[in-house]
Structures are given as structure tokens and as C-alpha cells.
Symmetry: C2
Subunit: 235 residues, 2 copies
């Protein structure tokens, strides 16, 4: 059968907002753009969608190019399609956000792309409409994390409750009572207590936990209150 002959074809890109947590601050991974326009300026990792790949495949390819990671949490965020967003040529960008364990990110690859981690509060000026993309991603991760256990994707397999709390406090820019946080998290049934401790953070040491993957997958889509009164925090 013939093609849709009279229609205009457009460039389609994928841009990734890659989140990582260093134990203290929520960060995103940026690169220095390698081609014109805006060559050398800070930018999200992105690329054009190829004819033979789906959007998800494109996003995974782009994520792997930079981080060498596969099978990590990657979710479609939003399509950005203002006509003037790319000054060279009309390009629609589908954004994805990724949550990765910052330790698994291979430094080796950062040289190819001049990559760097930036605290969400100190993101440099970005090209095109990418500032807006990052803002949207920030809202989305908060929204989702308030009700679904996605933040575990930012932690290593073994983690402690204080680490987890620091992550929540960083993402929501708030402070949570230790006792209540611990109760709330343990009540979900998502955690398995291990026998060894992390001695790095304190003299006493904090017990490691890992995810109960069975419960994690089972409860992932349900609504849970990880954050008290999330609407008072989002800014």
C-alpha cells in the first residue's frame, strides 16, 4: 500500500533525564553537547529516534551509550513539541527519566561525553527547552515517589534505613521523623533485614536491608503513603 504521501515528516529525538543519589544529594547526569548548535554546552543525553527502533529502544540505547547500563528503571516522561524548540529544525523530543545506582555508573564513559553529575538545585544553564524538561522530571519523580517505591532504584542492592531516609529527605527537600519513617517503611513489607552492617556512617553501624522483590513487584502499582502531606512540599 502507498504511504501517507502528503504529510510532513519531522525529526524525533529522545532526551534522558538521568537521576542518581550520592548519599546526600539528588543529582542528574549531564553531558557537553558534541555537535552544533550549542556544541560544548551542558545538555541532557539524547539522540534521534532511528527508523528501526521504538521509542523505548531509543531511550535504552541512549542511556546505555552514556552509562553502559541496561535494565535500569526508565520511564517515558513527556513529549516536548514546541515548533521553535530546536532552532535548526523542527524536532519533537520524547523525554525519559532514568533512575540509576550512581555507583554503577562507569566513569570511563563520562570522558567520551564530558559528562558530569549536578545537584538538582544547581543545574547549569541547559540548551533549548531542557530546563523545562528537567523541571518536569523533578515534579514527576516527586509525584511518583510519594506513592510508589521508585526511589529504591537509586540505591545499591544493600542499603540502610538512614540512607533511605536521607534519599527521601533529599528528593522531597524536607525532614522526616526517624521513628515514623522507619515504622512507615517497615510496615510496607518491602524490606528484608540482613545480618551485616554498614559501618561507614557511624560507630554503631546500621543494618543493611534489601528489597523483598516479590513484594516490590506485587505492590509497585499500589498507592502508598511514603510521604506525609506531599502537597505541602512540592515546590
Amino acid at each position: 500500500m502507498q504511504k501517507y504521501s502528503k504529510q510532513t515528516r519531522l525529526l524525533l529525538a529522545v532526551d534522558c533525564i538521568i537521576f542518581g543519589f550520592d548519599g546526600d544529594t539528588l543529582k542528574i547526569l549531564l553531558i557537553k553537547r558534541g555537535f552544533q548548535p550549542e556544541k560544548g554546552n551542558w545538555s541532557l543525553m539524547g539522540g534521534f529516534v532511528q527508523v528501526d527502533e521504538s521509542l523505548d529502544q531509543a531511550a535504552n540505547r541512549i542511556l546505555k551509550q552514556l552509562t553502559n547500563l541496561e535494565g535500569v528503571y526508565l520511564e517515558q516522561l513527556q513529549a516536548f513539541g514546541n515548533t521553535k524548540r530546536d532552532p535548526i529544525e523542527r524536532t519533537v523530543s520524547i523525554t525519559y527519566f532514568a533512575l540509576i545506582d550512581i555507583n554503577k555508573y562507569e566513569i570511563q564513559l563520562s570522558k567520551d561525553y564530558d559528562a558530569g553529575w549536578f545537584p538538582l538545585k544547581r543545574v547549569p544553564k541547559l540548551i533549548f527547552d531542557q530546563q523545562e524538561m528537567v523541571e518536569t522530571a523533578k515534579k514527576c519523580i516527586r509525584y511518583k515517589a510519594a506513592m510508589h517505591p521508585i526511589l529504591f532504584e537509586l540505591l545499591p542492592t544493600k542499603f540502610t534505613i538512614p540512607q533511605l531516609q536521607a534519599l527521601y529527605e533529599s528528593v522531597f527537600n524536607t525532614q522526616i521523623d526517624k521513628r515514623n519513617f522507619s515504622k512507615r517503611i517497615l510496615a510496607t513489607g518491602l524490606l528484608i533485614k540482613l545480618n551485616d552492617k554498614d559501618k561507614a556512617g557511624s560507630k554503631r553501624g546500621a543494618y543493611y536491608y534489601q528489597l523483598n522483590m516479590q513484594n516490590y513487584y506485587a505492590k509497585f502499582q499500589s498507592f502508598m503513603n511514603f510521604i506525609p502531606n506531599p502537597d505541602t512540599l512540592l515546590n
Copy 2:
């Protein structure tokens, strides 16, 4: 400056999932597709994105073409980009969902497109991957309606509490206690009680309410519990 010369351009479409509520059932508006392939088969209202319009503009244009409505609730849902989703030519579709007052929908226009309303539970076979689009939209409207007051967009300016409850029960496929629903809704401060009654539904008549637009806009983004235990319902 020159263009991104070596990249492939793709067709970009917008498809709209248009929701309406007839007082009893949540429905979507479908058309009979007017061109090949799949001409004459039930389909979402859609169209190709033009070079000079943004995605939002395209969605609004397409919605207006069919319903003659402007300024209604319209939100980007998701981009669908499997390589084989359109058998004629690789086409990426950005889906939007619209919530409209079914009474404002102009019958006159349905003839141009052979349009019809279908209960969400009895949606006919749709073309391409549109079944999946509808499923995604259904999940999204439920997810959002459990926490944000979007369902008012489906009602006329004046509505009664029993009508509103029927809407919630229809969307979530559940039954809610009248006393608790009334308390919950009135406690939001979103409703203004009017002096006249709707006599259609009962002998006694039910008081009309309208939205307090001030509070509606102010509280729209906050998380509210409109539905008890939403995770037990979503299916």
C-alpha cells in the same frame, strides 16, 4: 545554519481519547476512520502534526474538528512509537485525553465523522494499537481522579452530589457510601451550594452545586483522597 542532514524524519500523529459521562456510564468518543488503511473501522479521533503547530495545538485542533469544543480539559498522555504500529509507514503517535461535558458535544459534527459514544466497558475493536491507548488512558484518568478533582470536567456547570457520586462510582467501578462521599466532597471546599434543585432524578429533588473556581484552581495540584483505597479498585 544547516539542518541535521543525515537523520531520518518520521510521521508524527496525535490521537485523542475523549471521555464523556452520560449520568450513568463513562464513555469515549470514537469515529469511523475516513481513509485507508482501516477505512470505515472504529478509531480514535486523530491527525498528523503539522510543521507549524505544537503538539498541544495539534491536539486542540483535532479535538475541535470533531467536537467543536475549545478550552476543555486536555492533557498529554503518552507517546506510542512501536515501529510496526502503523502498517503503512512508521508513525509515532502522541496521545492526549480530553474530558468534556457530553451535553456540549455537538451532534451535528458527529455526522461528518460517523462518531459514536461507547461505554468504556464495551469499546469495539480499534485500529492499530489504539486498544492499548484506551487502556492507558483509562488507567491514567483513574489514577489522576483518585487524587485530583479532574472529574468535574465531565459534568455540566451545575450538578448534584448524587450525580457526582454516580460519576465516581462509574469511573472506579465501585460503590461508595452516600454519607461518607458527601462528607468527603464537601470537606474539600470545592463546592458551592445553589438554591435550586434538579427535579429530574427524584421526587424530592437534589440541590445543585457548582465549583468554587478559586479553590478549584488553588487545590488542583494537591493530593486529595477522593477515593478510599484506590489501589484495591484499579483493574
